[in-house]
Amino acid sequence: MIKILFAGEGGQGVQVAAEILAKAAFLDGKKSLYIPNFGVEQRGGVSLAFVTIDDQAVVYPKFDKADILVIFSDRSIERIKSYFDQKTQVILTPAVSQKINFKVDSLIKIESRDFPNKTWNILALGKVNKIGKIVSKEILKETLIKRFTKQFEKDQKLKELDLKALES
């Protein structure tokens, strides 16, 4: 069983990234369960997403400690303090500016390089899958493309960008 927690703010694509991962796992023949967790604000409030993937049916959507924790914003840090322990692999997206001094074995900071901030959630998604070896790259790519069918139809460049972010 692998437990991934995505934490950020409304508008950062936290939920989309988590949903794509959970759906990809399902398409890859695994059992997965995803649940969003946020307040009432449409933008700006803390946005959490729990994804659990296993070979057998997942019963409960939330968990105590994440195996992989992805942090999208400074403001979400306070909210996720109880969800990690030393073994958690922590990933920080380029939006995190605060200095993180968690006592964890693995802490990765994703650099933005040329990627615009609207693709940072996809950078995180790619990194999560790489570290966790969760689903096949092909299936993850297909699931992402399907999810953004409408957006990619309008904007081919966005598709190239997102796929590049997924691979990097």
Binding site: A22, V58, V59, Y60, D64
Partner: protein, 341 residues
């Protein structure tokens, strides 16, 4: 046919396949996607209809209106919406109208959170100025949201008690695998209630008039409860401790039982699936053999009150683990129980 869907989408799909013809609803988190999904169905399927009403009272009474005309109708709500709908549910209870309502529980006390709790148990089971002549299913998984929706429509029209799927915001919003299997079910006893020769009233003049009706309902409810009650038991055969939990907490408790059994604890789970009528006989049979009962719920003793009311004969020590509006992970349940010993 396996799909990857959100709980709310699954409920709408199940209602459609189960034979529902109309939905009346008012948007309220965490149930709104049920209304939205149904509204999409209505674009393609002209045999079904939808009405987004001006408030929950209109939704509840609109649903009653459609049922009176002989069309299976349903609604979905939670929290403050559930409070407002008790107006309609009370009348459905009095007139034996087969309404089906999907209650996605959210935080208790006023507007609270839009997320989760198990604090609408009392409201859904005994709300309004009624006597709880209702059929309430507490589901624990995405597959059960699907399966029990079929059952809800079938049993509502057959037995004519207002029927409820009591779920919660977690089940509403979680996405996972579900088998949208073909459940071969034809709804029986579906026909117009308001027809020639029928004059219905819910207002009476003298005490004895309504008193007699209520007693008759109670007799009927007691007579049929055996056909309505449902429960699940897990590992109770040789247990000393029994966890009693419902809904998604029961799902987590089941995993906790496995964790605790690995450590040598003789523990099992009794899960009522119908909260009304409560599966009291089955509970008594299974639980009279244990030494201690631990009731776990995301409320302040609402399940516990129901339990104690129905099982007053059981003179066992009961420990209540209450976390109003907050969920329990399997590990948390296991650790809490361990620390009790």
């Amino acid at each position: 046919m396996k799909n990857f869907l959100m709980g709310n989408q699954i409920l709408a799909q199940a209602a459609l396949k189960a034979g529902a013809k109309a939905m009346f609803g008012y948007p309220i988190t965490p149930s709104s996607e049920i209304l939205e999904t149904w509204s999409n169905f209505c674009l393609k399927d002209k045999s079904i209809s939808i009405l987004q009403t001006e408030d929950e009272m209109a939704a509840g009474f609109g649903m009653i209106g459609a049922c009176l005309a002989g069309k299976p109708a349903f609604t979905a709500t939670g929290g403050p919406g559930n409070v407002l709908m008790q107006d309609a549910f009370s009348m459905a209870e009095a007139l034996r109208i087969p309404t089906v309502a999907m209650i996605m529980q959210r935080g208790g006390l006023s507007t609270s959170t839009v997320i989760y709790s198990q604090e609408e148990v009392r409201l859904t089971c005994f709300g309004g100025n009624g006597e709880g002549f209702r059929l309430v299913y507490s589901t624990a998984s995405l597959q059960e949201l699907y399966n029990y929706t079929f059952k809800a429509f079938k049993m509502a029209w057959k037995y004519r008690w207002p029927t409820f799927i009591l779920a919660d915001g977690y089940q509403a919003k979680m996405k996972g695998e579900v088998d949208l299997k073909d459940i071969n079910q034809k709804l029986e006893n579906v026909s117009p209630i308001l027809k020639a020769g029928v004059n219905l009233r819910n207002c009476y003049n003298l005490e004895e008039e309504i008193g007699e009706i209520i007693v008759n309902y109670a007799d009927e409810y007691n007579q049929v409860r055996g056909e309505l009650e449902e429960y699940e038991e897990y590992q109770l055969q040789n247990s000393e401790i029994a966890i009693v939990a419902h809904g998604i907490v029961a799902g987590a408790a089941k995993v906790a039982v496995d964790l605790l059994r690995k450590e040598g604890l003789r523990i099992g789970l009794f899960r009522p699936i119908t909260l009304r009528p409560f599966p009291a006989k089955a509970a008594l049979d299974y639980l009279s053999k244990v030494k201690k009962i631990v009731i776990v719920e995301s409320a302040l003793g609402q399940l516990s009150s129901l339990f104690k009311d129905e099982l007053y004969e059981l003179s066992l020590p009961i420990i209540e683990i209450n976390k109003p509006a907050v969920g329990f992970t399997p590990k948390e349940i296991a650790n809490t129980i361990k620390s009790l010993k």
